[in-house]
Point group: C2
Chain length 165, copies 2
DNA sequence: TAATTATGGATATAATATATCCGAATTAAA
DNA sequence: TTTAATTCGGATATATTATATCCATAATTA
């Protein structure tokens, strides 16, 4: 049971994009520099966010990435699902039908109880992440940030964001 | 985010062991035949259950596997943890410290908010599985089993279990 | 037109999951 | 005491997935 590190990268990337002023954007390289991660691989994660319609991309000289909608309507589950997909983590191979005492098709109308239990647990996992919007992350992060760092972030965005008017 | 199939195998194996009479045991090969899975790989999962003290093993001519404690006190989480370990699925690499605006150590006294959210979600996942004891699986499975199959299972156990007196 | 940027595919490598086998230790029965 | 059966741990092999990079192409703006 493991979650790819792309989820972490994408979550932090979205957290920065949420700080951008209206109509501003950040390029792939700028995001990679800010996060301190390799740009080519980060691009992969950003593409996944784009396919999931969580970020809007714009090509060209003033292009880059920006959030597709309000930060309050994007949850950690949205980001996780964009990167990892929505397939259940527990894959039922219908073991109950195997062997000398295998269950008949008639007994398998309902899903396997073990699989059902895992499905239920995954729902709880998903719900917990769905309850955390990007705004929560933003608020908590700024709450502990020292004043000088807030200024540095503001300056960096000012200098690196495109499309700011 | 994925769970190894060993968890499924182990869960079904435990479900059968829960049906055994007191002091009875099933050998590796008998379990593999019942589940319809390859015996050598199943042995790996059983070893994990043994290390986690969920099953008791006995070597020798009348040896085999049996539950280490009451089926009501073994949950699906116990089995999952035995196979997959208890390390968090979300691995925080402290991205917040990277880059030109990285957080200072003083700002990182508390765990990263993103990591904390995932930790909370995992707790919900764990709790959901912890709430499902083996007895639940047994009860639900027998509830939908046809009468003739119940008899076949009883007969198969009678013929394949060791240590029955 | 030129410069800049994201996209998608292809590729390479590392890590993990899956699967099997074998010798050693253990145990009960002959 | 011997023999047969059984689990255990390690070693190994293969398949699948994760991680990471690169490049040609399309799109966009100055």
């Amino acid at each position: 049971m493991k979650i790819g590190k792309g989820v972490e990268w994408a979550a932090h990337a979205c957290a920065i994009l949420a700080l951008l002023p209206q109509d501003a954007a950040l390029s792939r390289d700028a995001l990679a520099e800010y996060l301190g991660v390799p740009a080519p691989y980060l691009a992969k994660q950003l593409q996944a966010l784009s396919r999931a319609n969580l970020v809007i991309t714009q090509r060209g000289v003033t292009g880059g990435y920006r959030l597709a909608r309000d930060a309050g309507s994007i949850s950690l589950w949205d980001i996780t699902a964009a990167l990892e997909g929505t397939q259940p983590s527990f894959r039922c191979t219908e073991i109950r039908r195997n062997g000398p005492c295998g269950a008949s098709p008639g007994e398998c109308r309902r899903p396997c109880d073990i699989a059902a239990a895992f499905q239920h647990a995954e729902m709880a996992f998903r719900d917990a992440l769905s309850a955390v919007p990007l705004t929560d992350i933003m608020y908590k992060a700024t709450a502990v940030a020292f004043e000088d760092r807030k200024g540095r972030i503001r300056d960096w965005i000012e200098q690196n964001a495109t499309g700011m008017r």
